[in-house]
């Protein structure tokens, strides 16, 4: 008489007793996990703040209303001081905190696209303060932010 049932292979018996082999899946998941952990450490959390490089150039006269220029002339003597100018006015001296409030007051409620924010640092000003003004402008939705240096158009 023939066997009524097909004999089980050793592999079938093993899988029946222990379940599917998880080792390859664990290998792959571990590699992916380590890869993303290492990538995150190298890529780091960074922000990018766009800064224009203004150049002196003649252009056609525009009939549109030009954007309002808000210029922050920075000097550093112990701390950073700001002279805040709107278009071509003579400017108002103030601290960094006051400058932040002045920028917020000027742009809040208006259209951020109607403003250009220019940073004019003197040579001794820490780079950190230059970036800070870019950060304020970006937070208020101003997309046109630039740094003026000696080779830029007149301040």
């Amino acid at each position: 008489m023939k066997h009524a049932f097909r004999p089980r292979s050793a592999r079938a018996v093993y899988e029946m007793q222990t379940g599917p082999n998880m080792t390859p899946m664990v290998d792959v998941v571990m590699v992916i996990l380590i890869f993303f952990m290492a990538s995150a450490a190298f890529l780091g959390p960074e922000w990018f703040l766009k800064s224009s490089l203004p150049v002196r150039a003649a252009g056609p006269a525009s009939t549109e209303k030009p954007p309002t220029r808000l210029t922050f002339a920075l000097t550093h003597n112990g701390g950073t001081q700001v002279v805040y100018k709107i278009d071509d006015d003579s400017g108002v001296p103030m601290s960094m905190d006051e400058a932040h409030e002045a920028l917020k007051a000027k742009i809040s409620g208006g259209n951020p696209e109607g403003f250009i924010v220019l940073v004019a640092p003197s040579p001794e000003v820490p780079y950190d303060d230059v970036v800070k003004i870019h950060e304020w402008a970006a937070a208020l939705g101003v997309s046109k932010v630039g740094i003026l240096d000696e080779a830029s158009p007149p301040r």
Binding site: V31, F35, A38, S39, F42, L43, G44, P45, E46, W47, F48, L49, K50, S51, S52, L53, V55, L74, H76, P121, S122, P123, E124, V125, P126, Y127, D128, V130, V131, K132, H134, E135, A138, A139, I147, D149, E150, A151
Partner: protein, 130 residues
């Protein structure tokens, strides 16, 4: 006679090669010792492939590093121009030390302008609330 199965070995070696290639590229671009300024806002999803200009602080001096190579002040504009001519749409990321005075950053910006760039992206580290 049973042969040795080399497939797992090739798998592991391939993963290691790819890993070190990626890390090596990132390391040269981004592992310069730069203490970035902090920011609570900004754009976070920059596409890969930017030209990264590191301005590293050495005491009171600054060193410009691109792709792991130190670039002298006289060669910076030429280097940036060559990169801009080859890849005109390639963004430039400026990673400068937060405590450097602007006088050390200004030559880099002037070189960018001489190279024909219209803008640069200032890189800042993310602070809480962003």
């Amino acid at each position: 006679m049973a042969k040795i199965n080399v497939t797992p070995l090739i798998d592991v070696v391939m993963v290691l090669i790819v890993f070190y290639l990626i890390v090596g590229k990132l390391a040269s671009d981004r592992l310069a010792r730069v203490e970035l300024p902090g920011s609570r806002t900004g754009k976070g999803d920059e596409p890969a492939g930017a030209l990264v200009v590191n301005v590293v602080k050495h005491g009171n001096a600054a060193e410009v590093v691109i792709d792991g190579n130190s670039i002298g002040a006289g060669q910076l504009a030429a280097t940036l121009k060559a990169a801009n001519d080859t890849h005109p749409d390639q963004p430039v990321h400026l990673r400068a030390d937060r405590s450097l005075p602007f006088s050390r950053i200004e030559p880099v910006l002037q070189a960018c302008r001489e190279a024909g760039l219209k803008s640069v992206k200032l890189v800042a580290s993310r602070e809480g609330g962003g």
